[in-house]
């Protein structure tokens, strides 16, 4: 097949939250990602099409969008792998405010990350040597399993609990909290457990496991959240945190 002459029909979301889909015909290429399709439209059809990307290789998580109804990185999604449904529909990431066209505002995502106390609380200063931690301890293994999140927001957009409950911290923030709960160097465990046990915290999760199904890094936030639920219950039974 001479691919330079074939083309695909693409629907792209335009405007803000009240916008709509618009159709474009884009030439088909053998090596073509969803991001390339969007780029082609901006360069060749409508110069005002807004979207966001940075690294191009799945490290920064700037380019996540909703592709055929599923949130995913567009830079590393080959058109072939999603075009079996014989259509391509590209929308901004859901569960976040739309800035314009394909760009969502991720601020709320990071605010929740902070609210879940998703940052390390140090136990020693820079003048001291790095703490010795054996890599085979269970806590280190738990932390490692959760650590490689690139904060792309795909899990957050896939989560119906976020969609239905705007207080809910979401999978990524809670996954980070879990990694830190297993970080033996961290000193804010009790405060973090309080933060993630509060309203909108880990107990709001219904274990839909959409986060696990969609995470491009194959992490398992559901497991992390389940871990937090357990820690939270234990701390409550010991009287360390209040309900």
């Amino acid at each position: 097949m001479d691919e330079s002459h074939s083309s695909i029909d693409v629907s792209i979301w335009r405007g803000d939250a009240n916008g709509g889909f618009q159709s474009y015909r884009v030439p088909s290429r053998s090596d073509q990602t969803v991001l390339d399709v969007v780029t082609w439209v901006q360069r060749n059809v409508d110069p005002t099409l807004s979207y966001r990307f940075a690294c191009r290789v799945g490290m920064c998580g700037s380019c996540a969008m909703t592709v055929n109804g599923r949130p995913r990185w567009t830079c590393r999604t080959h058109v072939k792998s999603v075009f079996q449904e014989s259509k391509l529909e590209i929308a901004p990431l859901s569960n976040m405010p739309v800035i314009k066209d394909l760009a969502s505002d991720m601020r709320v995502f990071f605010e929740k990350w902070t609210r879940a106390r998703g940052s390390f609380a140090p136990n020693r200063s820079r003048t001291k040597a790095v703490e010795e931690i054996r890599p085979d301890t269970p806590a280190r293994r738990f932390a490692d399993e959760a650590i490689e999140c690139i904060n792309c927001g795909v899990c957050y957009a896939a989560c119906d609990t976020v969609r239905w409950n705007e207080d809910y911290l979401g999978p990524a923030a809670l996954n980070r909290a879990w990694a830190l709960m297993n970080d033996v160097r961290d000193t804010a465990g009790r405060e973090r457990l309080e933060a993630v046990s509060a309203k909108g915290g880990c107990h709001s999760c219904h274990s839909h496991q959409s986060c696990q199904a969609h995470c491009p890094q194959t992490l398992n936030p559901t497991r992390s959240i389940a871990g937090l639920k357990g820690l939270s219950l234990q701390a409550y039974l010991r009287g360390e945190i209040k309900p």
């Binding site: 290429r29 090596d31 073509q32 990602t33 991001l35 390339d36 082609w40 901006q42 360069r43 110069p47 005002t48 099409l49 807004s50 966001r52 990307f53 940075a54 690294c55 191009r56 290789v57 799945g58 490290m59 920064c60 700037s62 830079c75 590393r76 080959h78 072939k80 314009k100 066209d101 760009a103 991720m106 990071f110 990350w113 902070t114 998703g118 940052s119 390390f120 140090p122 136990n123 820079r126 003048t127 001291k128 040597a129 790095v130 703490e131 010795e132 931690i133 054996r134 890599p135 085979d136 280190r140 650590i147 490689e148 999140c149 690139i150 904060n151 980070r176 830190l180 160097r185 961290d186």
Partner: protein
């Protein structure tokens, strides 16, 4: 246009920018600190893309001196020795700060101590890492610390347009910004400004840096009259993915380790050609492999897309898939079979060693302006060691944060901006809206081709002169090419135009510097001057813009710590 004021303005949210914000905030939490970044905080830029790791002499068998000598020799005796010395010394504290205070969780040895991995060009296994996603760990942890500090103001998707001097021209007043989301201008006046926008040579046909990078920082510094050094030093990585010009994947790095593990490079005729250039075959250094591939390409022995193949399958597809899991998956997602098939590769522009001339305390010739990270020049000389890049940005970012706080104590006033220049810069940014609509991307493609063909892996005088003429022509055409003024909000095409203008300006500096250096050192190779020249009389290039004209100078390298032929290592200090 909105005007706001702040004590400290930081441009960029890579390792340097985030570190500076945290240090300045810790030094004086009462200060008004504002961080502005072109993309999303911590997400745009290149620190995040670091795969290898962080060079630091922590092991008792290693030493600061050894790390220093590796850096100087790797840089072919061109590095600013005081900057390099600061780098290797401070790296120790910085890595401990990253672990102990920021929360990075680097990989350990079985006994619990930090693991150091082997990296090319170094005499000791000193590269601290988190798997092969070290940059993500460093940036994610820094980013969450910055998000957790409401005292640090954050402007995301804000593009820096110009450094605006004070009325008397003696110092910096502030920075003209473009709020990309709204398409409106904002002047941020600050007592001290850190330029940490990162380099990123994206003006080459094949390039690895993040797609949002366009050397805006260096272009602004150049227009503000600041000298840039070592600008001819563009590091090429030998194996970038090649998938045609219609995909943004092209140019992205396939990791070094593939060659190290025994991967073969084959030309279009399926001949394993690296043996024709170096007895180490594919395991020769980055520059030699890059030139080998480039020579095959020049000779026309290429693959369908015009590059060469990398083959891993002879090592056993299952073994490759286990050992290089991330890389194989990345290729698979993009439609390539790295483990079992052939993947087309090409040398790709990776890092700019050159940058703004600065002091050890990160100050520049313009009072009030500080610089750190890839925007700063002189640390790496002619070649950067893998693992020294992220060390550079975090070490000097932290120093800049501390220094700006002290500087503000001595210079506590805001300085009024030069209003004429401000108006001029706004007009300059709006220029494309006054021109008839044209094809910005076509011009970008021309610049990418010109730089690749004429100012690329192998250079010579006629090529560089032709390159300079072409850059001029492209810029002239760009100035007559417009963007429709229908919607300025989040207008990517307007950003593309502005990016291309920055790239034209900095490309020209690279070509000038390359023309000036008549020898071949590290990343810079002149086929008409293939010898490295006398090391003892080494010079570095310095380019600056005065009244619209380039002034190019060759400055002698000051051997303040060690001279060529000498070493800081005591002979009884063998590698363990």
């Amino acid at each position: 246009m909105e005007r706001i004021t702040t004590d400290i303005l930081i441009l960029g949210s890579g390792g340097a920018g985030l570190f500076a914000a945290l240090h300045a905030h810790a030094a004086n939490p009462d200060l008004n600190i504002t961080l502005a970044t072109k993309g999303l905080l911590g997400k745009c830029g290149c620190t995040r893309m670091v795969q290898g790791g962080y060079n630091v002499a922590l092991n008792p068998g290693d030493s600061i001196e050894r790390h220093f000598m590796d850096t100087i020799e790797g840089g072919k005796w061109l590095p600013h020795q005081e900057l390099a010395w600061t780098l290797v010394n401070k790296a120790v504290e910085r890595v401990q700060e990253l672990e102990n205070e920021i929360g990075c969780f680097f990989d350990r040895n079985p006994d619990g101590t930090l693991h150091g991995k082997a990296f090319a060009g170094q005499t000791f296994d000193r590269t601290v890492h988190k798997g092969d996603l070290t940059g993500i760990e460093i940036i994610s942890r820094l980013m969450e610390q910055v998000w957790a500090r409401p005292g640090i103001g954050k402007f995301e998707e804000h593009r820096a347009l110009a450094l605006i001097p004070s009325q008397d021209g003696a110092s910096l007043s502030g920075v003209l910004m473009l709020d990309i989301r709204t398409g409106t201008f904002r002047l941020i006046q600050a007592k001290a400004v850190l330029l940490a926008t990162g380099g990123g040579p994206t003006m080459y046909r094949y390039h690895t840096p993040s797609g949002d990078k366009s050397m805006d920082g260096l272009a602004m510094a150049l227009r503000a009259g600041l000298p840039l050094r070592d600008m001819e030093m563009v590091q090429f990585h030998p194996t970038g993915l090649l998938a045609g010009k219609d995909t943004r994947m092209t140019g992205t790095v396939l990791e070094e380790g593939l060659r190290g593990a025994g991967g073969h490079l084959l030309n279009g005729a399926m001949h394993r050609f690296m043996g024709d250039y170096d007895e180490r075959y594919e395991r020769a250094t980055r520059d030699i492999v890059s030139r080998g591939i480039y020579a095959e390409m020049k000779a026309g022995r290429t693959t369908p897309n015009g590059g060469v193949y990398i083959r891993m399958s002879h090592l056993g597809p299952e073994i490759v898939a286990t050992k290089f899991k991330g890389m194989v998956k990345r290729c698979h997602d993009c439609g390539f079979d790295l483990a079992g098939g052939l993947v087309e590769v090409v040398p790709t522009a990776h890092y700019l060693m050159g940058g703004i001339v600065c002091e050890v305390d990160t100050s520049t010739a313009l009072p009030g302006l500080f610089v750190a990270g890839e925007d700063a020049g002189g640390i790496h000389g002619a070649n950067r060691l893998g693992g020294n890049g992220v060390a550079n940005s975090t070490v000097f970012g932290g120093i800049a944060g501390d220094e700006m706080v002290s500087w503000i104590k001595a210079n506590p006033r805001l300085r009024a901006p030069n209003e004429d220049l401000l108006a001029e810069e706004i007009s300059r940014a709006l220029h494309p809206f006054r021109q008839p609509t044209g094809n910005v991307n076509m011009l970008r493609e021309s610049l990418l081709d010109t730089m690749w063909e004429s100012v690329g892996v192998v250079r010579d005088a006629p090529g560089l002169e032709r390159g300079l003429r072409e850059i001029d022509a492209i810029e002239t055409e760009l100035l007559q090419t417009g963007v429709p003024d229908t919607d300025r909000r989040f207008n990517m095409t307007w950003q593309d135009w502005l990016n291309l203008r920055s790239l034209c300006e900095t490309s020209r500096v690279i070509a000038y510097a390359a023309l000036t250096r008549r020898n071949s050192r590290g990343a810079h190779f002149r086929s008409d001057f293939p010898e490295p020249g006398d090391l003892a009389t080494s010079c570095y290039t310095e380019v600056c813009l005065r009244d619209g004209r380039f002034e190019v100078q060759e400055q002698p390298v000051l051997f303040t710590r060690v001279k060529p032929g000498e070493t800081l290592l005591v002979t009884s200090q063998p590698v363990e």
